[in-house]
């Protein structure tokens, strides 16, 4: 799979900007998503109250995450689920591969799970000899194309219908077309027998209810229901931050998530799964295994500013609102999680050294904060991360420049001198070269406001 790296965000972004087709696709998608979200939010007069409430619930859970996780596990296990704890990606993959191998599984169907992309689960399953089939249409498309997802909600949004049509013709033998309904029918047909033949179904989890041990998964296509109803073994993978306290809390989140993500009042299906079936002759899997993944999340609890990262409900609204994402798309970030939320959680999950450019790839405009259903203050988080990175990892030239800047700004005489020098130097400094590639500089002024001011 062609994974770009977050370490080369700058180069990735430049390449993305040169891709005319990509930019067209992004413009359409993000503006449509944005309009739909706006309309859907306006349809609920208490939208702002709901946001505050959701954030309060998340804050409550995160402050007592150990207790709520234990409650969730206790209740899920009492209903017949088996719960596994995975410290990191490798452990999660090992647990899941082990479960599948023990049951001699050959075919695994998956519904969309960002967490399993985070751990690169598919590669691990394939290495263990299993056929892995992504069943969400967007994920199916990128699986055929050997590409990573470019958006949290719509993974194939960077592709035009023509590109997808050509892909289906090449990979699936579909008669050439760019008709969306025909492409969808093709995918439906091709995946049906995979669902029927699958030994294992792997899903993500949107919300895990501590009070009842229920996992809640939302979708539009029906592939999650098929994945979690047909195979004998259902494995649900979730980050530890997905737990919410009470069943009734779903009212708030089920109002915020669909509207923020796709502009819908409700997605077509919500599955509420609590343990396993009561009788062997009942419908549904024989076994439910839930894998709880840490992989760096517990570290984020150490400060209120970073803790709010874990409130994210993966709606994707911040991506659509972000002027940077709108221009470069998801692949440039080199991470499973792109856009504003990706810029703050990728360095925290993968380590700052792997993603040091990302927190700086923002104009701090705050559009993300405005649309976030759980009011994550992403600009504040970006600044927090910059504060961690710059003093230690900023270039020597930059660190020196700011030390000098501070000295100049705290000395009136140096300040006056620098204003004069600056006006001369601005024409030649490297910063000016970066500026003047696309923009003119203002004409130099001979006097500053300080010079002009006379105390009357």
């Amino acid at each position: 799979m062609n994974h770009l790296s977050s370490e080369t965000f700058k180069e990735n972004a430049k390449a993305a900007l040169a891709d005319v087709q990509l930019r067209g696709a992004l413009k359409n998608a993000t503006s449509l998503f944005g309009e739909r979200r706006k309309e859907a939010a306006a349809g609920l007069p208490n939208w702002e109250d709901l946001r505050s409430q959701a954030r309060a619930i998340k804050d409550e859970v995160l402050l007592h995450l150990d207790r709520y996780l234990e409650e969730f596990v206790r209740n899920a296990e009492s209903r017949g689920a088996t719960v596994h704890w995975a410290r990191d990606a490798a452990e999660a993959n090992s647990i899941i591969c082990g479960l599948a191998t023990e049951r001699a599984a050959r075919i695994v169907v998956k519904s969309k799970s960002m967490t399993t992309e985070e751990t690169h689960l598919n590669e691990a399953l394939e290495a263990a000899g299993m056929q892995v089939v992504e069943t969400d249409l967007g994920e199916y498309i990128i699986q055929l194309a050997h590409e990573p997802p470019s958006h949290i909600i719509a993974p194939a949004i960077h592709k035009t219908r023509q590109q997808i049509g050509e892909l289906f013709t090449a990979e699936l033998g579909m008669p050439p077309t760019d008709n969306v309904d025909q492409m969808t029918s093709t995918a439906r047909m091709k995946l049906r027998d995979r669902f029927a033949a699958a030994d294992v179904g792997i899903s993500g989890v949107n919300f895990a209810i501590a009070e009842t041990g229920t996992i809640v998964i939302v979708e539009n296509e029906g592939n999650i229901r098929l994945t979690t109803s047909l195979p004998r073994l259902h494995i649900a993978v979730m980050g530890i931050e997905k737990v919410i306290p009470r069943f009734n809390d779903l009212d708030v989140f089920l109002k915020l998530l669909p509207r923020s993500g796709t502009g819908q009042r409700l997605t077509t299906y919500q599955s509420f799964i609590t343990g396993i079936k009561r009788a062997p002759s009942d419908e549904g899997p024989d076994e439910l295994h839930i894998v709880l993944l840490d992989n760096g999340r517990s570290r984020m609890l150490a400060h209120p500013v970073t803790r709010q990262s874990l409130a994210c409900i993966r709606c994707g609204a911040c991506l659509n609102a972000c002027p940077v994402y709108q221009q470069v798309g998801g692949h440039a970030y080199g991470s499973v999680y792109p856009g504003p939320i990706g810029a703050v959680i990728t360095p925290q999950l993968m380590g700052i050294q792997k993603a040091a450019q990302l927190p700086y790839a923002s104009s701090l405009c705050g559009a993300c904060r405005e649309v976030c259903p759980v009011k994550i203050d992403i600009p504040r988080l970006l600044l927090h991360l910059r504060g961690e990175i710059s003093p230690r990892k900023g270039s020597r030239a930059e660190r020196l420049a700011f030390k000098m800047w501070a000295r100049v700004m705290t000395s009136p005489s140096l300040y006056r001198l620098s204003s004069v020098a600056g006006r001369i130097l601005q024409r030649v400094m490297p910063i000016s070269r970066a500026w003047t590639k696309g923009r003119d500089l203002r004409p130099v002024e001979s006097k500053s406001f300080h010079d002009l001011w006379t105390n009357e």
Binding site: P323, A367, F449
Partner: protein, 230 residues
Amino acid sequence: MWTSIGVSSVGVLRRVGCEVEFDKRQTCCAQPAFNTGYLDEARLVARRFISIFEESKADAIVSPSGSCTAMVHHYPQLFAGDSKWLPRAHAIAAKTHELSSFLVRVLKKEDVGASWNGRLTWHDACHGLRDLNIKSEPRALIRNVRGAEFVELEHADSCCGFGGTFSVKYPEISVAILDEKIDAIERAGVQAVVSGDASCLMQIGGRLSRKGSKVRVMHLAELLNESSQQ
């Protein structure tokens, strides 16, 4: 760097009856360091800002910059946990206002007696809009400028792509974002774009000029200082 903004701001404030002082010792609000992650350096400069302005007996500190005002409002965050500087930071932040916000919300003035002939539009600078909730105030002030035909810009609240050091760290992305703004400005068919932040105006103006556009950029203070006496 843009003296007429300062001159115009003083002119407008005096015209509406304020007594204006300017402390020549002032340098910077510390935003560049704060936004780039150099917090120690930001604190050095912020302390100076606070110390200087504390000495003033003025009722208010007014800035013709939404981003600088927002920065000062962030001083409590910068000095969190510092029992000596935190209360002082709070005090200064409470007294600091952006120009249009000061005129409309504090002085309750929406008509400052300005006049300017032509078709213009307004760009919402991000910090002013999202940190300080400045949206209706500039529009109210502009609507009272005699002779000015105000047109609402499409996506007026979208970022211009400046973002401080972002504009030179990621110049290609900065300009790509900027071009969306430029397209909207061209579609609006205006003679001038007005905004409350010099950085946005440099960004927008720099691209307009590079593209040979006749559209000029104006700071709100410059517009409001225009009068029929000229």
